[in-house]
C-alpha cells in the first residue's frame, strides 16, 4: 500500500506543474498588454512611465522563467498576489467567499447521496418495474437540466407561492450568516442552491448506483446468499450494497470537484457572493491575477479530490494496488 501511495502522490506533481504551466501560458496569451488595458480602459494616451511602473508592479519586467517559478512558488504557499481590480490580496478575496460556497458544496453532496443511493438501489432491485422507470426518468432529467435553470425555476416557484399564500413575495436571504449564528437563516439561504446543484449530482450518482447494483446482484455469492435463505433486505443491504459502493464512491469524489463548475452558475442565479460568482466577476473585469488564481485553485482541488478517491479506492479494493 505504501508503495502505491508514494507512486500515486508523486504522479500529482507533474500534473499540477503542467496545469500551472498551462494557466501561466494561457494568461499570457491574452491579446494586448494587460497594463495598457488597465490604464487605458477610458481611452486616450498615457504615460509610458506609468506602464513601466505597472509592469514592474506586476513583475512582468522579469524573465518568463523567473515569473513562472515565482508563480509556482506562490501557488505552493497559496499566495496568488493581489487582485488587479480591487487591489486586495487574492487570498483575502477568496477566503471571504469560501464559507458559503463550501457550505453549498457540502450540502449538495449530502442531498445527492441521500437521494442517489436509496433511489439507485431501489431502481436496481425493482428492475424494469414502474419504480425503476420513474427513477430512471428522474435521473435522465437531472442530467439534461441545466442547474441554473432549475435554480431560476425554484426561485420562480418560491416567489409565486409566497406571494399567493402570504400576499408578499419572499426571497431567501442573500447575505451569508454562519450556521452557528443563525441556523434557520443560514439554511434558508443555502437550501435551494444546494438542492439545485445536488440534483444533477444525484442524477449521475443514481445511474452509477443502479448499474453497479445490477452488476453485483448477478454475482454468484448473492445467489448463494439467496439459496441459503437469507432475507432479501439483508442481501441487498449487507452483501450487495457494500460491494456496489466502490464505483459510486469514486464518482461522488470526482463529481465533488465538478461541483465548483456548478457553483459558478448557481451562485449567479441566487445572487450569492461565493467563489463561483467571484470567478465570473474576475473574468468579466478581466482581472487576470484573480482568474489565474481561481483556475489554479480549482485544478488543485480537482487533483487532490482525484488523489483521495484513488487512495480510498486502493484501500477498499486491494487488487488496484498490485495492478
Amino acid at each position: 500500500m505504501l508503495h502505491y501511495v508514494i507512486k500515486r502522490v508523486l504522479l500529482v506533481i507533474p500534473t499540477l506543474l503542467g496545469a500551472a504551466a498551462l494557466v501561466f501560458v494561457l494568461m499570457r496569451l491574452i491579446p494586448g498588454d494587460v497594463c495598457v488595458m488597465r490604464l487605458g480602459s477610458s481611452g486616450g494616451t498615457f504615460d509610458p512611465k506609468a506602464i513601466a511602473l505597472c509592469h514592474a508592479e506586476l513583475g512582468m519586467d522579469r524573465p518568463w522563467m523567473i515569473q513562472f517559478i515565482d508563480f509556482v512558488w506562490g501557488c505552493m504557499r497559496l499566495n496568488f498576489g493581489t487582485s488587479m481590480w480591487s487591489g486586495q490580496p487574492v487570498t483575502t478575496e477568496i477566503m471571504a467567499r469560501l464559507p458559503i460556497s463550501l457550505e453549498i458544496a457540502i450540502l449538495a453532496t449530502v442531498v445527492a447521496i441521500a437521494i442517489a443511493i436509496p433511489l439507485g438501489t431501489i431502481s436496481a432491485v425493482k428492475q424494469n418495474t414502474w419504480v425503476d422507470y420513474v427513477v430512471r426518468v428522474f435521473a435522465v432529467g437531472g442530467i439534461a437540466t441545466p442547474s441554473f435553470w432549475l435554480g431560476i425555476m425554484s426561485v420562480l416557484v418560491v416567489l409565486n407561492f409566497t406571494s399567493a399564500v402570504f400576499g408578499k413575495p419572499w426571497m431567501p436571504p442573500i447575505e451569508y450568516v454562519p450556521i452557528w449564528e443563525d441556523p434557520i437563516r443560514n439554511l434558508s439561504m443555502a437550501f435551494l442552491p444546494a438542492v439545485t446543484v445536488g440534483y444533477r449530482y444525484a442524477a449521475v450518482s443514481m445511474r452509477m448506483t443502479r448499474s453497479a447494483m445490477l452488476e453485483v446482484m448477478q454475482e454468484d455469492y448473492i445467489r448463494t446468499a439467496r439459496a441459503k435463505g437469507l432475507i432479501r433486505k439483508l442481501i441487498v443491504n449487507r452483501h450487495a450494497l457494500k460491494n456496489a459502493m466502490l464505483p459510486v464512491v469514486t464518482l461522488i469524489g470526482i463529481e465533488f470537484a465538478f461541483l465548483i463548475g456548478g457553483l459558478v452558475v448557481t451562485e449567479q442565479v441566487f445572487n450569492l457572493n461565493g467563489v463561483g460568482r467571484l470567478f465570473v466577476q474576475a473574468v468579466q473585469n478581466q482581472d487576470y491575477t484573480l482568474t489565474q488564481a481561481l483556475v489554479m485553485l480549482t485544478v488543485m482541488v480537482f487533483v487532490i479530490c482525484n488523489l483521495i478517491v484513488d487512495l480510498f479506492y486502493a484501500w477498499l479494493d486491494p487488487r488496484i494496488r498490485y495492478s
Binding site: 507533474p14 500534473t15 499540477l16 503542467g18 496545469a19 498551462l22 494557466v23 494561457l26 494568461m27 496569451l29 491574452i30 491579446p31 428492475q127 435522465v140 432529467g141 442530467i143 439534461a144 437540466t145 441545466p146 441554473f148 435553470w149 431560476i152 425555476m153 426561485v155 420562480l156 416567489l159 409565486n160 406571494s163 413575495p169 448499474s211 445490477l214 448477478q218 470537484a257 465538478f258 465548483i260 463548475g261 459558478v264 452558475v265 449567479q268 470567478f279 465570473v280 474576475a282 473574468v283 468579466q284 478581466q286 487576470y288 482568474t291 483556475v295 480549482t298 485544478v299 480537482f302 487533483v303 482525484n306
Partner: protein, 303 residues
Amino acid sequence: MVTNVSSIDFSAADADNAVVSRTSRFRRAREFCRQEVLGTLGLVLVVVMALTGLLAELIAPYSPTANDFGAMMEAPSVSHLLGTDQFGRDLLSRIIFGARTAMIVGLTSALVGGIAGLILGVGSAYFGGTIDLIMQRVCDVLMAFPLIIMALAVVAIFGTGVQNVIIAITIPLIPRCARVVRASALSIREIPYVDAARALGYGHLRIILFHMVPNVMAPFLIMVTAFVGQAVLAEASLSYLGLGVQEPVPAWGLMLQGGTEEYATTAPWIAVFPGVAIVLAVLGINLFGDALRDTLDPKLRKR
C-alpha cells in the same frame, strides 16, 4: 473467358451483398426503433431540433430580433404562442433561432473536439512509447480543468461571441475523447492485421486512418453524441453568465439572463420556455446517445 466468368460471379455476389446489407441495415434501424423506444424518442427530438435550426427562417412567425413595443411581456396568446419578452420580442421565434445557435455550437465543438481527440488518441496508442507517455500526461493536465472552468479561462482570453464559445468548449473536449479512444485503440493495435499492414509497407497515416480509426468508431460515436449534449449545456451556461453568445444573437442561455427573477410573478414564461427548450434538446441527445451506446457496445448494455 475464365476471368470473365469469375468477374460476373463477383459482381453478382457484390450485388447480392449490397441487397443484403441494404435490407439488413433497414432491419437494424427498425430493430433499433423497436428495442430502444426511448432512444427513438431522443432521435426524434434531435431531428426536430436540427430541422428547427435549419429552417428557422421558414418556421419562425417573427424575426428573433424585432421589438414590438406595443406587446412587451405579453402572455402566451394566439399571436405570440409562447408570449413575448421584456423587449417585446416573440419568444417562440427566439427559441426557434436559438436552436440554430445551439446546434452550431453543439455540433461544431463536439465534432471538432471529437475528431481531434480521435486522431490524437489513436496516434498515441499506435506510436506508443514516449509519444504516448507525453500525450497521456498532457491529457492528465487538461482533464484537471473542469469543463466550465476551462471554458471560462478560454473566454477570459479570447473574449465572448459564438466563435470563441466554440473554441472554449472544444478545447476541454479533446483530451476526454483522446483518453477513451486511446483505450480502445490500444487493444486494436495488438491485433495481427495492424502488423500485417505494417509488413506490407503501409505508412503510419494510412494504418491509423484506414485500419485503426474505423475500429474505434463505436466508442467514438458514443463520445461525440455525449459531447453534443455537454456542449449545448456548456454554451447555455456560458451565455447565461454573459460570457458566451452575445446579443443580438438568439441563444437559449442568453434568453434566461436578463433579470428573469424580476419578472417571476408578472411574466414567468420568459424564464420557463427557453429552459424547456434546453432540457428537451439535451434530453433528446442523451436518450439517443444512451440507446446508441447500448446498440454499439453490448458490453455496456443495461440489463
